[in-house]
């Protein structure tokens, strides 16, 4: 590079902005990074603050030093103009891999600094977190009160999005795990729980549920006794129709609930207890009940095996089965249409 005799080499001047968080600590941040936050930008331009330690910009109370660090990381990356959309997206996806508490703090801080793109990003991450959890899990994660009455707490029809096989299997695994945990507590033995992961193939799991000693199968089955009362309601959609017991027919697969469908006859009396005027919804949620009822054991045992068998059967056969089960229970006479096909 040609240098004239008059060329003056200037020392590199990197401007900094001084920021102060509510705990009193002050830090200096590269100007271009800090100015990426609209709130800071405005303070600098309107009040001239931030130019030195003594005139540090006071940040809103919702911004603590740790979160400020995260926010500045975000700003530092995104304020560079040359980055591609793909790069930015990749950074963002990694950036929001935080726990719920941190995400909330980050959203709050970003909002107070008016950093709209970060608010969008974090809100989306929180929404995704909410999406992936049951109401119970949401309450735990975000420390929310359990203040709805049972009536108000409508169990959602999760089958809108999930394959019911996977959903039901997941619940069985979860119950199995919990059951083993409890037994481990009693025996004070380390249970290899970590192996009970969903990645295992269906067959393996089914044999686990069915096979591993009848005792386990029976115990799992017993726990479902209480559930079955709830499950009776699962076929019961109509709120005001007192005859809705009649209609508890097995449903078509995606909306159906395989376990609870059978043995409705025995449970009809129990379901009377649960009829209320509120809109009752499909309730696939399984619960624990350690009451032992010897009379029920065998029945429930059969249920588990039945479920396992049905999981493995092919759809048309299953439909045939459901239809024939439905035929048995329906008090309305079966009609034949003109072509002689039985409905």
């Amino acid at each position: 590079m040609p240098e004239g005799p008059m060329a003056v080499v200037k020392p590199e001047m990197k401007p900094y902005i001084w920021l102060q968080t509510t705990d009193g600590s002050i830090q200096q941040v590269e100007e271009e990074v800090a100015m990426f936050c609209p709130m800071i930008c405005r303070e600098v331009l309107q009040t001239g603050m931030g130019s030195s330690k003594n005139y540090a910009i006071s940040l809103p109370q919702r911004v603590n030093p740790a979160i400020l660090g995260l926010i500045l990381d975000y700003c530092r990356f995104h304020q560079v103009p040359g980055r591609s959309n793909k790069e930015r997206k990749t950074f963002d996806e990694k950036f929001i891999k935080l726990d719920a508490k941190k995400l909330c703090e980050l959203t709050s801080a970003a909002d107070s600094l008016q950093l709209r793109p970060l608010v969008d990003l974090t809100s989306r991450a929180l929404a995704r977190m909410i999406e992936g959890k049951t109401p119970e899990e949401i309450r735990e994660t975000f420390n929310l009160p359990d203040d709805l009455t049972e009536e108000e707490k409508l169990e959602p029809l999760r089958n809108l999005t999930d394959d019911p096989r996977i959903r039901l299997l997941n619940r069985l695994y979860a119950r199995k795990r919990k059951e083993l945990k409890e037994r481990a507590k009693v025996k004070n033995v380390e249970v290899e729980e970590e192996q009970l992961v969903d990645e295992r193939p269906v067959d393996e799991l089914l044999s686990f549920i069915n096979g591993d000693g009848e005792s386990k199968g029976v115990k799992a089955a017993k726990n479902k006794k209480k559930n079955r009362r709830r499950k009776d309601l699962s076929g019961n959609f109509s709120s005001n129709d007192s005859n809705c017991n009649q209609f508890k027919e097995p449903n078509h697969l995606p909306s159906g609930y395989l376990i609870g469908d059978i043995d409705n006859a025995t449970s009809q009396s129990k379901s009377a207890v649960f009829q209320d005027s509120a809109s009752v919804t499909f309730s696939p949620k399984l619960e624990f009940d350690n009451e032992l009822d010897p009379a029920m054991e065998e029945e429930l045992d059969r249920e588990v095996e039945d479920f396992a068998r049905r999981l493995n059967s092919v759809w048309p056969e299953r439909m045939q089965e459901m239809l024939s089960l439905g035929q048995e229970r329906r008090p309305v006479p079966v009609s034949l249409n003109g072509n002689g096909a039985v409905k």
Partner: protein, 356 residues
């Protein structure tokens, strides 16, 4: 109590409005404050404004098993219809839980209408007894549950025109009674209040007419009089909500006397669309103009619907073939195919469009 810990409610709401519609019922089951938020009209308004809503099509679709296996159940001669749900913008398909009391199939020829977060299923014929029903069932996406609504008052109506204002009301007009007499009466149903009210009668009896809501009016298109069985009229009548009166009959509303079932509103800009011969036509300035041809592999159209800027069409190359779905962009007039899945390619009898 804040919606989310440490967040002002405004920001907490930003998170909730981003949750997809099929998790609304979860959100409503978390706690009182969340349930309250999701039930406010503000919630959906904000969601729509920020563009977080999805277009959801719900249909009464025939169960069509393309590869029956040996020993499988013989499908009855009358196809079994159930409720399917499609998100055309991302090719997602699922089934909805059956209407209470109709687990073995929907009422034949029932009408589906979408109102806010609710799906309203009206009337139809019992698939076993073929008895005409005036029952109304409402599925709420915010609670993911069914309830039975108030029955449609008056005589048992079949093949009536219906449409919703998408916000609160379902409008019903025409159709025929038990004796196949065409009807001129009309009704409106307030979904939230679960109440039916009588509207003034139309000037003409209209059996098999089509309802479309556009520009603040409920249009009842075509149909026929009792003594003109199957000979469709080209006239239409529009009910003006602001005056609560029917506008004078518009003769020659359609340019050819044909069944108006493909005529739809909802596309925005006050347009009405329909399929005419092998074209899609738009009603502009009282004239129907063909804007594009139907896709080559659709000759038999079974269902059409439209929403802002788009038309959705379901049909098949020939009768009883698997159905295909196409979306038409109403700006570029380009067709895009929507992926169907096995089990979701049966004939579609009726449907509705919801933005949730």
């Amino acid at each position: 109590m804040e919606l989310l810990p440490g967040l002002p409610d405004d920001v907490g709401l930003e998170c909730l409005v981003r949750v997809p519609y099929n998790h609304f019922s979860s959100v409503a089951s978390v706690c009182k404050s969340w349930k309250l938020q999701i039930q406010q009209p503000e919630f959906m308004r904000r969601r729509k404004a920020a563009g977080f809503t999805s277009t959801v099509i719900v249909m009464a679709q025939a169960h069509f098993d393309p590869t029956p296996k040996s020993g499988s159940v013989k499908l009855p001669a009358t196809p079994v219809y159930r409720l399917t749900l499609c998100e055309p913008e991302n090719g997602y398909w699922t089934e909805l839980p059956p209407v209470p009391g109709y687990t073995e199939g929907l009422p034949m020829f029932c009408q589906l209408v979408g109102v806010g977060l609710n799906l309203v299923v009206m009337g139809g014929w019992n698939p076993d007894t073929w008895e005409v029903s005036n029952a109304v069932f409402v599925y709420s996406f915010s609670t993911a549950s069914w309830r039975r609504g108030a029955d449609m008052p008056g005589c048992r109506r079949s093949f009536f025109a219906c449409a919703s204002d998408l916000k609160r009301t379902v409008f019903v007009a025409g159709g025929h009674d038990d004796e196949k007499n065409a009807l001129s009466s009309a009704l409106a149903y307030d979904v939230a209040k679960d109440k039916w009210v009588q509207l003034p009668d139309m000037a003409m009896e209209r059996d098999e007419s089509k309802g479309a809501f556009q520009g603040g009016k409920f249009h009842v298109i075509g149909g026929y009089h009792t003594n003109m069985q199957g000979r469709f009229t080209t006239s239409a009548e529009s009910f003006d909500l602001s005056t609560w009166q029917w506008d004078p009959v518009q003769n020659d509303f359609l340019d050819i006397a044909t069944c108006p079932r493909t005529c739809v509103g909802g596309a925005g800009d006050g347009r009405l669309l329909m399929c005419r011969d092998a074209d899609v036509a738009i009603l502009q300035n009282s004239k129907w103009q063909a804007v594009t041809q139907l896709p080559a592999d659709i000759r038999n159209v079974s269902y059409v619907t439209a929403w802002q800027g788009n038309l959705l069409l379901i049909g098949s190359p020939r009768f009883s073939e698997p159905h295909k779905i196409y979306m038409l962009d109403l700006k570029s007039y380009k067709w895009t195919k929507v992926e169907t899945r096995d089990g979701f390619s049966g004939h579609v009898q009726s449907g509705c469009c919801l933005q949730m």
